[in-house]
Amino acid sequence: MTALLELKSVNARYGQLRVLHDVSLAVEEGQIVAVLGANGAGKTTTLRAISGTVRREGELRFAGRPLGRSGPETVARLGIAHVPEGRGTFSELTVWENLRLGATTRHGSSDDDFARVLRYFPWIEDRRGQQAGTLSGGEQQMLALARAFMQRPRLLLLDEPSLGLAPLLVTEIFRIVKELNEQEGLTVLVVEQNAHIALQVASHAYVLEVGRVALSGPSAELQEHESIRRSYLGY
């Protein structure tokens, strides 16, 4: 079986600065895969390379189809929802409009999707008219998840969902991600600095160091790995 998403020796650069060096990784359908690493390791750039928001070279395949030079609009329409750094909230629009934007590329009614989203995020119902920029950080992260889910993606790219959130909220967010994965069959590639929680939720993980894959394997193995424990888990 071939993977849903496959990267083979992918390079990416910002201007002259090369940020990714021959990154290869694979995400199987139905998995949660984590990308770990320190600041500046190229985690965010890896996601950007997939969604086409940064210039990239190398082989990228999604569901067997080469992504080639596809830009972000096209990648999104292929079924990859990218929740970027800063969550991509349309702060000036209402909560409900943010959700509708998730469904913008699909035809026909999205009532079913709304109903499904409300099952996971019931609080949204009461806040639908609120300006999205006035939500708390945790609520904005959940709204971003909900919006991405409205896209009915085959693959969800999550960029540091824990950033700036209290530990309790981080747990809650990852619980929902896990639930979406188990109950809706959503495949997730999540980038995290919080290796502790990411390794609990993900089945596989990759560790990036200065733009290269330094380590990879099943989460259980990585959790036992000496250098991971010291550098990322802190015990």
Binding site: T53, G88, F90, E92, L101, T104, T105, G133, S136
Partner: protein, 322 residues
């Protein structure tokens, strides 16, 4: 009670409501006042629709399109040519709106998009270049002489009590307001409108949900050109057709847009209407304000408002948590 409370929270609304009461009372009291008010609203509706076009483009591209008035003028000449070929006024009107949409879209694709990433000033210069180019081309093709089109609403006058209202003024008001409302519905209630707003507000995030941002911006320019065409066609019956017909209107529209807050579509329309009525009433009742002083007066009002409310009447500082 609820309404009263909300008015008290937004002093601008209170002032506007006060202004409306003043206009109604004045109109009941004096038929000349009523006539000037209606004529002012008609004039203001034209300012408002062109101001709305400016706001649309400002929100999408973050520049004032200095060519907006000339684009409106050029599309009015298209309608003129169509009527000369024998089409009825309203058939020409409808076709012109389609032509304007295509025109605006093409302008964005051909002239604006290539420089849009470079800098704001580059886009501004391109719009000024377009102003000169369109002006030159129209003058070359149609000459600078006054031309005349069939009157869209006829020349009849309605009498309500002692108040005489021209069909022309009512028609202008109706068409302008209708086009503004239709556009509002498009932006507020349709998927396309929502995508356009998202593309203008957050292009990067919009791309990630699959919105084709470049197309949305081009469509935005197209819609702005349609509004401009409506403004041009509604201006023609009173100003007649000449290459300079929209130049002062653009300045009033600019004043109206800034008055409303530059980012606010509602503000642009309200600003336009207020400006139109204000200028008409001042022209009627304050003797020394002739045609020469109208434009300076409009900008004096603008200056006054901006001193009190730097973001314009409807400009609001965005509330955001980070």
């Amino acid at each position: 009670m609820e309404i009263a409370r909300r008015l008290a929270q937004r002093p601008v609304l209170l002032v506007l409501a006060g202004g409306c009461v003043f206009l109604v009372v004045g109109s009941l009291d004096s038929s000349i006042f009523a006539q000037q008010t209606v004529a002012g609203l008609a004039q203001g509706a034209i300012f408002g629709s062109l101001a709305l076009a400016l706001v649309l483009i400002y929100r999408a591209t973050e520049v004032i399109n200095f060519a907006q008035g000339e684009m409106a003028m050029a599309t009015t000449y298209v309608a003129f040519q169509l009527t000369k070929w024998g089409l009825s006024y309203w058939a020409a009107f409808a076709i012109t709106l389609v032509v304007a949409f295509v025109f605006g879209t093409v302008v964005q694709l051909v002239f604006i998009r290539p420089v849009q990433q470079k800098s704001v000033i580059a886009v501004v210069i391109v719009t000024i270049g377009l102003f000169i180019l369109i002006d030159g081309l129209v003058t070359w093709r149609f000459s600078a002489q006054l031309q005349f089109m069939p009157a869209p609403f006829g020349n009849s006058v309605y009498h309500v009590g002692s108040v005489a209202v021209s069909r022309q003024a009512l028609g202008t008001l109706l068409v302008s307001v209708l086009s503004v409302i239709l556009l509002g519905v498009l932006f507020r209630f349709t998927k396309l409108g929502l995508s356009m707003r998202a593309a203008a507000l957050r292009p990067a995030a919009a791309r990630l949900v699959g919105i084709r941002v470049d197309w949305m911006l081009a469509i935005g320019w197209g819609l702005a050109a349609v509004l401009g065409a409506v403004a041009g066609l509604m201006t023609e019956p009173t100003q007649f057709l000449q290459p300079t017909m929209m130049q002062s209107i653009l300045l009033y529209a600019f004043a109206a847009a800034v008055l409303g807050g530059l980012e606010s579509p509602v503000g642009a329309v309200v600003g336009g209407l207020a400006l139109g009525v204000f200028l008409n009433l001042i022209g009627q009742y304050v003797g020394f304000v002739g045609a020469a002083l109208q434009l300076p007066l409009a900008f004096a009002v603008l200056l006054g408002v901006l001193l009190v409310k730097p973001n314009g009447l409807f400009g609001r500082a965005l509330v955001r948590r980070v």
